[in-house]
Structures are given as C-alpha cells and as structure tokens.
Subunit: 245 residues, 2 copies
DNA sequence: CGCATTTTTGAAGCGGATCAATTAAAGTGG
DNA sequence: CCACTTTAATTGATCCGCTTCAAAAATGCG
C-alpha cells in the first residue's frame, strides 16, 4: 500500500466528458474532502463484509468487484467498479456494509473523509441532488440486472454483460473501437451471471465459434456487436454526465 | 379515480414507529409539497414504462408492484410496494422511467408535486440525507435479491419472499402474529422469483405439505418460521425509522 | 348461475449443474 | 531461465431442477 499524492486539479478523470463539470468553489470543497490517496495490490480487499463506519472512496485507477458471499460459500458479483465509481457508500451512509469489495487489478483510490457527506449536502444542495440522481441511476441498472438474472438465459446474460462493460468503458474513453481491457476470469463471469464456471466456458466457446465475441489475455473483443445486441436485447447504458468526488 | 382530501396531520401512517418523526416546520413544508390524494382501482397502472416527468407519490393505502416487461413479453417484478413507500422516484429524478407500477389492490396515493425535491434539499439538507439513506437501504435490498435470484433455488427464494414481506408488514404494524394479507397470485410469485407459474405451484404445495407456510384467500400463513428462516438463509430486514413524505 | 381466469397435476424435454479427468497458463523458487 | 507447483480453463458424461405443454379442477366474478 503506497501513498501517492495527486491533487484534484490534476485528476485524469475529471476533464472527461462523462463527468460533471465543476465550479471553482465546488472543486475547493472537494479538495478539502479528499484527504488521501492509496494504492492496493490486485486481489486485495477494499471493503470486507460487516465492516463498520468505513471511508468513502473514489476508484481512481484499476478495476474492482462489488460482491456478496452467501452462507453456502457461493458468491454473487453485483457490480464491476470502474474508475470514477464510488466505493463504500453503503458503509458511509448506513454505518455498516453487507457486501464486500475486492480489487481485480492493482487499484488506486481517493480517500474522502476530510468532510462528511452531510456537509456536502448543506453547502451544495444541488450536489446532493446529483448524488441522488447517481443513486437512482444505479438502481435502474440494478433493476435491469434483476430482470436479466430472473428471465434471460446464459447467452443473453453474457452478451449483456459484455456490452454493458464495453459501453461503460467507452463513456470513460477507456475502450478501443471493438475491444477493451477485461480482467475478469471465467469464475468471475459465472459469479456475476448466476451460472457455473463450466457453463460459462461453453457459452464462451460458442460465442467464439459464432464469431460474436471472445476474451483472451485480459482483453474483450466484440466482433459482431449488432448480433450481440440482438441476442441480449441490449438497450444501452444511461449517458453521463455524472458526479465525481 | 376518486379525490379524497386527507391532511398530513391525520395521516394514519405517520405516527407509526417505523417512520421518522417530524418537526413542525418539516411537516408544514411537506403539506406544501403534497397537493392531492387519489384513489385507483385494483390492477390499474400507476406508472407506465417510458413515462416522462411524472409526479412523485407516496403509497398511502393498498399494495402495488413495481416491475419491468422484457422484449419477450416476460415480466420481472422488482418490488412489492407497501403503504409508506415512494412511487415514481426514478421518473421524478431522472425525467423518465424504465419500469412500470401497477396496483395490486385498490390503492390510494399522496401526490407530491407542490414543491420539487430540489427545494427539499435546499431547505432541509438533513432530509436530503435521509432520502439518500433510504435509497442506499433500497440498494442493499436489491443486492440481496440479485444474490437470491442468482444463487438460490426455488424453495429458498420463496421462503425469503414470504419472510421479507411479512416482516415489512410487521414493521408497519400491518401483520398479525403469524399471518398477514397477501394479495399476490401464483403468477406474481413466479414473476417475482424468476420461476414458472407451474413450478411455484409445486413449491407451494410442498411448503403446505411440510407445514411451513401456505397462502389462501389472500392471506399468507407462516406456520414454521424457524424452519423457513433456516431454508432461505434469511437474515432479516433493515429496521426503521424511515422518511415518509 | 355460467363464463373466464387462475390453480393444480401429470408427463416429457431441456438448460444448465455437477463430477471428473485433461490441458493450459501463470506463478515460484532454485 | 527452466523445472516445479499452483491455479485457471477446457471437454465429456451424467444428472437434476425447472420449464413447457396439456388437460382437469377450482375459484372468482358479472
């Protein structure tokens, strides 16, 4: 765990069109809120289940997963966290967490604990509203996934996941034309999609055989987007701009 | 659709311990926000998918479901809405909706459009925070359901749903000792749990045979809570108090 | 009461899980 | 840098939970 100081004014995310622009005074408040920057190795725990009163983080670089572990040891991945996403909102707002977060690659995080969220609401009510908006968008995405897990088959789920991650990276200007980084293994896919690792393997080789998409060496290649969209019934992600703290 | 005026001071929900208490000034603001009260028949649409810029409602009496319909005509129920729950947050905050809401029984709703949520945030920042908190709790419940749909079998899902609904009613002082109203049919259960109607029927008769729980004539009876809790791996709902607008 | 909708029950089929054995890839240490 | 160990990915065989189809029984409703 290294410490590296990166002032918000030099943040490489902030200028990207996906994120909400800032006034001078807002920026200075955020710089007060931010009080550290840490780096964690791949596979390390960022938040462990049951943790109480944790800090709020912004994922600055790298990938992480948000997941739950069930009594029977199985795991459900709830989200892939990408640069700019918040980590620890549940813990910060509710005082404890029922999910865990683990780094997928090496990650670096902005630590926001200089000022509490309460003060943000008092000083910048329209920011509070932006945050509310972000949460509601999150709920919309979750609703979508509930429907996907409840109603679609393996190939449709896989297609949806590929397209969603690709598009989320694209919004952040982190994807190529038809490929993007993809540090998830088969087991991760299985735990995300509610399938077994073995079946993920089969669906994936079917995708490759039909020349729809394939994953190799940490990269996702989408060879036939149109057909994938059709299979999954994919409708696109919500557009930005979004709050960034 | 009848119109009946019910001033907030006579709200039958507000005094219940599950809901957050109010100061005089907060109450008067809410009374400004509230500008109507409507009643809808069972099975009528409260919100239709794609609807833009709708009002925000509080469900006052009756039950409703929040759901999505997929391209292939199948339906995923996302939530059972009980008295005190908000309806239309997505539409109000984001400007449009990707889910629908339909009344299950006859319902009556408080219509909140006198003041926008923005003004609530400005005038009562700690209220904004309460609202944020409510959303985060909702997310936690959704996370749970993602894991349930992704990882548990039919009996476990059913058990979880029964226990959750029962406990949510109990919080509102609307459940008996081991029974509560339950206006959902087999098809509703199937659409909630990601199962077929036929299979729901089978699981249910198994539950009855094992004397765990049964549904008849719009009432849910939980005969062996301990065993149900054990089967489902149920961990309880988050306690109140909660915001009520 | 009679029609429509919902529920139950049975039989057959399928998607995906599980088990088990192999191959490939990624770390690790000498 | 290569042999060794560990972990992850494929592949085949079998099994099971759930779906689908179809018909009968029950329930609700105008």
């Amino acid at each position: 765990m290294r410490e590296v100081a990166i002032p918000c004014t030099e943040c490489w995310l902030r200028p990207r069109p996906y994120f909400r622009p800032f006034s001078e005074s807002e920026l200075s408040f955020i710089m007060l809120m931010k009080n550290g920057h840490i780096t964690l190795a791949a596979k390390s725990h960022v938040i462990e289940i049951g943790q109480v009163g944790g800090s709020l983080f912004t994922l600055y670089e790298g990938w992480a997963i948000r997941y739950k572990e069930l009594p029977d040891k199985s795991r459900q991945i709830l989200d892939v966290l990408l640069p700019g996403d918040f980590i620890g909102m549940e813990s910060h707002v509710l005082g404890s967490t029922e999910h865990s977060v683990r780094a997928l690659t090496e990650v670096s995080l902005c630590v926001l604990r200089g000022r509490r969220l309460t003060q943000l609401f008092e000083g910048y009510p329209e920011w509070g509203l932006s945050l509310l908006k972000w949460l509601v968008e999150g709920q919309r995405r979750d609703d979508n996934w509930r429907a996907i897990l409840g109603r679609l088959d393996a190939a449709q789920r896989m297609g949806f996941l590929f397209l969603e991650i690709f598009d989320r990276l694209k919004q952040r200007e982190m994807a190529g034309n038809n490929s993007c980084p993809f540090p998830l293994g088969r087991q991760h896919l299985a735990d995300y999609l509610g399938l077994s690792r073995v079946h993920v393997s089969r669906v994936l080789s079917d995708f490759a055989a039909r020349d729809l998409a394939h994953v190799s060496q940490g990269t996702l290649y989408i060879s036939n987007r149109a057909k994938l969209v059709d299979i999954a019934g994919y409708q696109g992600t919500t557009p930005g701009p979004r709050v960034l703290l």
